[in-house]
């Protein structure tokens, strides 16, 4: 489980109940040279989760069984340092401010631009050395 850290390639977890989105994200992350693990259900992610195993979490907001916000709440106690990027197909201003208030790195609206996502991942991974990147540029 320490392989990621040893090779210095960050591992990113993707949680989305839409498999085609999961797969697309996985391919995009791969071309960015990240390692990635996909989960089509938040429960599956929680089952696989171990502190330090993932360097970043990208999660959908609306999912069957458990919302992205609920997932964020569960993780905030166990792993407050895990950077979380929300993606959502809905414009949900309340959910967005709630997510950001609870410490999410970014809240992106689908469809997402590769460059914007890349910048946010980079900033999430370097979070420890930066202040909260709330003022990062939104997608163009």
């Amino acid at each position: 489980m320490k392989v990621c850290e040893l090779t210095l390639i960050p591992t990113i977890a993707v949680v989305d109940d839409d498999v085609s989105i999961c797969n697309a994200l996985a391919e995009l992350l791969e071309v960015f040279d990240f390692k990635c693990q996909i989960f089509d259900h938040p429960e599956k992610f929680l089952a696989a989760y171990m502190r330090g195993r993932f360097d970043c979490l990208i999660t959908d907001l609306n999912m069957k069984g458990m919302s992205g916000l609920e997932l964020q709440q569960k993780l905030s106690a166990a792993d407050p340092d895990l950077p979380i990027i929300f993606i959502s197909a809905q414009s949900a201003p309340e959910a967005k401010s709630e997510a950001l208030r609870l410490g999410a790195v970014a809240f992106l609206s689908k469809p997402i631009s590769d460059d914007v996502l890349h910048r946010h991942i980079i900033s999430a991974l370097s979070r420890g050395t930066m202040d909260k990147p709330d003022d990062l540029p939104r997608e163009p």
């Binding site: 839409d18 085609s20 989105i21 797969n23 697309a24 994200l25 391919e27 995009l28 791969e30 071309v31 609306n62 069957k64 993606i87 197909a89 809905q90 689908k110 469809p111 997402i112 631009s113 590769d114």
Partner: protein, 584 residues
Amino acid sequence: MKSVDYPTEAGEPPMPAAIGQVAYWQFNVTRARALLESMDAACPGGDQEWQPDRLDMLLSAVRIVDVNDEAIRLFGLPADRDKVLDRPIASLWPEQSRAALGDLLTTVATSAHKGTVAREIPSVGRLQHVVLTGWKAFEPRCADTVFVSVRATLNAPNAVIELEASQKRYRNMISSLPIPVWQIDARPAGRIFDRLRANGITDMASYSDEHPEIVQLACDIVQVFDVNKEAMVLFGGKHRSEFIRSVKYLFSTTPGATKRVMLAHFSGVRNHVEELKVRTFDGRLLDVLLLMTFPVPGERLDTTILMMIDNTARLEAEAKLRKIEADFSHAARLSTLGEMTTSIAHEIKQPLSAILMNAQTSLRYLRRAEPNLDKVDILTSRVVESAQRAGDIIGRIQDMAGKREATSTLLDFNEVVRQCVVFLRHESEDKGVVITTKLQPDLPSVRGDRIQLQQVIVNLIVNSIQAMKTAPQVQREIYLETQLDDNARVLFSIRDTGTGIPVDHLDQIFDGFFTTKEGGLGIGLAICQSIIKAHGGEIAASNRPEGGAMFGFSIPTTARGQLQSEQSLGTFLERQDDTVPRII
């Protein structure tokens, strides 16, 4: 009137030209010869008391050789001469004058002289002062041929006045009827039909297929001889003379009408009813209901009555109503879609996001110094999949959003329900509602419009989803069920765990513009009801004892549906037949 109803001079039989209102019978008495002579021997000169059985024996032995049209009319004989000719007179001659006929035949057949013999009878049936005149054929070789003419002498002045008054009333009634009426002499066609029948033609439909010219001929030779004012107004004619010609102008605008009318006439039916399009003299195109009444034996065969009821305005109003209904139903679908915009946008964004990400990833692989084409291949295939998925979603929305005419096709009802659930999957997941279906397998198919039925089901599901907005998350459930009832109708029911329907709303819930939703049009359920009714079904709403609302509708399946439509068509035709005014 020059009336020659018996030969005035030896050797001069009655000429057809002289045949006016006189009925003629021609008999053959060969088989009755022995009886006649024994009668005459018993009582020379006739006028005996007849024993009923002797009279019957005599009249059963006398054969009919020929009759004229007037005899058919006066005596109410079958119009088909074949049913009269060569039959014994016993079955066809009226009871009151059988003895007189017996006397007459005895006297004529047995006397040597060639003069005429007459018998007067006060009344026979509806005829008064009946005079029977009999004579033998002049040709000695036809010694057994006896002619009998029948005149009802209407010498009572009252009767003449009555008759004239009655004819005048008939003319007045026709001319002042508030319905366009044509009077037609269809006998020329009747004579053609008689000849065809004599040649053994019974299947006129196939005969006219083989000889299409017969249809045109029968139409050309049948003439209109009178029309009333309403008919002139309907056709925009100025002079009656414009109407007095072949009936062709009445039927030529509707394909096949001429043939159908001819087949009806040939078949001997009383009435023929059909919807026609007619072109008026001033160029208008009208939708009319044609009602034809053919004369039947016992009536004068020279008058066929044809009436037209102008349906143009009614059909236009119906078309407008259908359009308004379609507009309303369209508005209701748009309203339902409007309530779902959020989840629709969400649903479409999913495949679009996948497409965008896969395309961006592909570009990155392509722009590398050494493009990774294997990756691009995989990613492009995924783009295709997602694009198809997006297309499907948009197609479903277009189905619902489109403005279209209702169609009628055979449908697998369970499939109709399943498509609704797919359509609303996102909406229901968004709202945290669990939809459970219990569809009875092997339902017979239903006939109807898929989009309209889906509109009803989607509307009911969306209503239920909205009714559960306030329910706690764990209890948001919808149960859909299909089954076949005892009357072979498909039953659809939807139950929810929402707030139910306020009791005082239950009666008005299907009324138009009744709504409790803010911003709701209040036409959804009214449209649902009219759609289900148009499918021959019923819809009802109730509250479940355990809480929540229940809506259900039933519609006929095809086996039963076809039966019903045939029955109702049959009833319709019978009714038409019975309600056709009998003018003659």
